[in-house]
Symmetry: C2
Subunit: 273 residues, 2 copies
């Protein structure tokens, strides 16, 4: 188990802005050791591992026990290749033996509501229902991802399935009221291409006490920019955090087609009232 | 560490529809043992524990390393009491020594984009930006919740802060482009009021292979209804899963004010283009 001191130094960069906590657990050590894995050996992920991952996902909290999500496990080469193309043409998706597509699922709840209970499922038309489903599926998927890491597997979330979500929906046969939120590749990491723990913003930038403060964050961002530049330059990469954020939000181009997400949600049966 | 067999039986009810997996870890055992805790001893949550929880949260994946979330730690009695009233008037929020309010935070990224980078942050006006932030904050909060459980603390997510989100925003001094998504109470569980692991839908209802199937889920829901009725009746409660789902989505009344969520998001600087 990694020591708190080492884990914190890796997670927050070279400077440690506070004493490491005296409280610690194997779970927390595993969480802090998270890194994205985009390079996999060809070995398959076993059915037993998939069962454990989904059980972990289902054990996550779900608002009102509504369980507004589903997941499609994609293993077939052809389908994974097509999905990789749809999701930003990314090779690591083709390489990973298992691609989990996590779905916001209001179809099951609508069916239960209208066929077995009330006359309509009007409540499911609102933004609130989409928020319930998107939060539910994220809580579940994070449990699955951490569970995978605890078994020695590597994962990475793939938001790029939202570049062309209706094509993904067609590929997976999704009915109305089911929407692909993100993918998660799972596989045995290729240790030769192992990635490092990426430093995050100083904890003071995201943790507020009693009331939120935006002003002091500029200094934290400046410190983080230096930390991350150092991290990237050791990996032979250019561009710090500020450039990356500005590229994503500075223009519609940075959204890679996801500027049409509202329309796609509407088409797929999420009117977002 | 709980055995796979016991964990699976508790999580999926009395009938075990598949063999327990041969793969297992302390992380997965902890995940399957999750239960909502709504009864707390008065002992405070230490600063060290809070630091560890937030480090765990920050270690969760975040799309493009954008880190589009923040969290406000509320410990003051008066503020917690006011928030409890806003969030469905729930006593356990007053009782918990720590109430974490998890925020979708586009303000920091907008500031970075406009003041330090590009001329505008137009990309942050889209539904996609809200999805990025809502997913980011959920991944982070699930890590924090599991980390808390690994330290012997209890938690429960509180979606009811979305009943009156603008009042919550005012209470926490949230600027535009920051939105309260859910709360999380944290405290030392009152073991006398310990709750049981709640059974979830059969795994076959949520896990699909290659393509999604809605049809077969009706039978799974029926089996689950029986499992959950059994679970609730042992706790002296009535109403199964179908009734609960139908109550939530069968009419606008079931949304408890959250039918105004889109308007509240717009007001708080999430135009959802």
């Amino acid at each position: 188990m990694t020591s708190p001191d080492t884990s914190f130094r890796l997670r927050y960069g070279s400077e440690l802005p506070f004493d490491p906590p005296s409280v610690w657990s194997e779970v927390i050590a595993r969480q802090l050791d998270h890194r994205s894995v985009r390079s996999y050996r060809p070995d398959p992920v076993s059915d037993e591992a998939l069962t454990a991952l989904v059980a972990a996902a289902q054990s996550a909290p779900t608002s009102g026990n509504l369980q507004l999500w589903s997941v499609v496990a994609v293993r077939e080469d052809d389908r994974r290749t097509r999905l990789a193309t749809l999701a930003g043409d990314q090779d690591f998706i083709r390489q990973a033996p298992l691609f989990l597509i996590w779905l916001a699922d209001l179809a099951r709840a609508r069916q239960v509501t209208t066929e077995l209970g009330a006359a309509t499922a009007e409540g499911a038309d609102f933004v609130e229902a989409a928020v319930l489903a998107f939060v539910d599926v994220a809580l579940a998927a994070q449990n699955a991802s951490l569970a995978a890491e605890s078994l020695g597997l590597g994962t990475v979330f793939v938001g790029a399935i939202r570049n062309r979500p209706l094509d993904v929906a067609a590929e997976l046969g999704l009915p109305p009221h089911v929407f692909p939120v993100f993918g998660l590749t799972v596989g045995h990491p290729d240790r030769i291409a192992e990635t490092a723990v990426k430093p995050r913003l100083p904890q003071q930038a995201v943790l507020h006490h009693e009331r939120y403060e935006l002003g002091p964050q500029a200094a934290q961002v400046e410190a983080y920019e230096a930390t991350l530049n150092d991290f990237y330059s050791r990996a032979g990469l250019r561009a710090g955090w500020i450039d990356r954020v500005a590229t994503r939000f500075g223009s519609i181009t940075g959204l890679n087609g996801r500027e049409h997400l509202r329309q796609a949600l509407n088409t797929q049966g999420f009117p977002l009232r």
